[in-house]
């Protein structure tokens, strides 16, 4: 059975602080600093372990997984639009959020594997970084196709996606980590970017909890459909990810991380992109569902389930 990791308790105490109206507050500069740290550290760690692969072998597999990720918003959109009865703009924006990924959920998954001493492929990080692109582009197309009003600012949107802080720092971290790994010069940087990773994640989850609890009211008011979607959709997407990981011959850990990536959804990069691409969508809905429902579901319940899924597929293989 999967035990809850101490680090996710910080999320619980963040939520609780919000619920009991504690005056606990994380300074904005700390929140932003921690998120810069996590992005670089996740990238760096991935890059260091990528140094053990022949990079050319990896790229086609990684590329396919990234491209296939575009299926996620394509599946989410009709559900949201025709069952959930959201506007085209909102359905598209929410699809983009769920197609995109959450680096913190990924980090919780990595920590879960570390606690189990399970191996996973380092290049999953690169997949995570690149998955933003098809998700946000597809989401935007869905939100705006045939819609009247101002023209989509594609130039501005692609610039935002490609140079946005998340993708940029993840890729920068991967490259520096890869270089350090190849040159065997990881040594003094690991004290910061590896040893402190969990501690920083703890702080960040505390703040995530505060943020999630401040979003809950907005989600609840949207009714039971959004809550059901926020739980069932990631489960489905996770199953697809675990299956794909198995098909592509990833390790059990790698398949589980792919499931986590497919199941997780964005609350940082996607809102920034949708602000530009789909300004008429209501961010309260998409951020609320993503951070208020799916994020906590994933880190507490989803991650162990995705592990079981990956395990199950790999059992078939035997």
């Amino acid at each position: 059975m999967a035990t809850i990791q101490p680090v996710v308790l910080f999320f619980v105490f963040g939520v609780l602080a919000g619920v009991i109206k504690s005056d606990l507050k994380i300074p904005e500069a700390l929140y932003k600093s921690l998120s810069l740290f996590l992005l670089i550290a996740i990238g760096f760690k991935g890059g260091v372990s990528m140094a053990k692969y022949e990079i050319m072998e990896v790229l086609p597999i990684a590329g396919s997984m990234v491209v296939l990720a575009a299926l996620i918003p394509l599946t989410a959109y009709p559900i949201l639009r025709f069952i959930g009865r959201f506007t085209q703009a909102d359905a598209g924006a929410i699809s983009a959020h769920y197609g995109s990924v959450s680096a913190v959920t990924f980090a919780v998954g990595v920590a879960f594997l570390a606690a189990k001493d399970e191996y996973s492929e380092g290049y999953m990080v690169l997949i995570m970084a690149l998955m933003e692109i098809p998700a946000l582009v597809t989401g935007t197309i869905l939100a705006r196709a045939g819609a009247s009003g101002e023209k989509t600012q594609w130039g501005k949107l692609m610039h935002e996606i490609l140079t946005g802080t998340s993708l940029y720092l993840l890729v920068a971290g991967v490259i520096i980590g890869y270089y350090a790994g190849v040159m065997d010069m990881v040594a003094p940087l690991d004290k910061m970017f590896m040893d402190l990773f969990m501690g920083v994640l703890a702080f960040f989850l505390l703040e995530m909890g505060l943020l999630a609890s401040s979003r809950l009211k907005a989600v609840m008011s949207k009714g039971v459909f959004l809550i059901a979607f926020g739980i069932l959709f990631p489960l489905t997407a996770g199953l697809f990810g675990a299956y794909l990981g198995w098909i592509f011959g990833l390790s059990e850990g790698g398949s589980m991380l792919l499931a986590v990536l497919y199941a997780s959804c964005s609350y940082i990069a996607a809102p920034a992109a949708m602000r530009i691409a789909v300004p008429d969508a209501d961010p309260a809905i998409s951020i609320g569902a993503s951070l208020g429902i799916t994020f906590p579901f994933n880190i507490f319940i989803g991650v162990p389930i995705y592990w079981e899924m990956a395990h199950w597929f790999h059992g078939i293989a035997v």
């Binding site: 609350y267 809102p271 602000r275 961010p283 951020i287 951070l291």
Partner: protein
């Protein structure tokens, strides 16, 4: 009041994403002085904008600007069409510039 010059005071509130455009526009009008306050929030036609919300990242700026009457009309003429796109608000009122510092208007 002694030692003062009659002037117009502008108080403009817009989203920070349009600040650069506004500053270019003021520059073109020949404005030689303004004051910028960032990290401002508020309520308007686009709803609440709260710079403390780390997820939505909405931030307004307030720009205060004093200039002579002749220039004021020029600023008004240039600003109006731009503000239509920007949203936000622009208030104009009368004021007196206290002489003393180097003229920056």
């Amino acid at each position: 009041m002694n030692n003062t010059i009659v002037m117009k005071r502008f108080e403009i509130v817009i989203g920070i994403e349009q600040l650069e455009q506004l500053m270019d526009l003021l520059d073109e009008c020949g404005v030689r002085g303004y004051t910028v306050i960032k990290n401002v929030g508020g309520l308007g036609s686009r709803g609440v904008r709260d710079p403390d919300d780390v997820l939505t990242e909405e931030e307004n700026v307030m720009v205060v600007l004093a200039c002579k009457e002749e220039q004021a009309q020029k600023v008004v003429n240039e600003l109006r069409p731009a503000l239509k796109g920007f949203g936000g608000m622009c208030l104009v009122s009368d004021c007196l510039w206290l002489e003393g510092p180097a003229a920056s208007y």
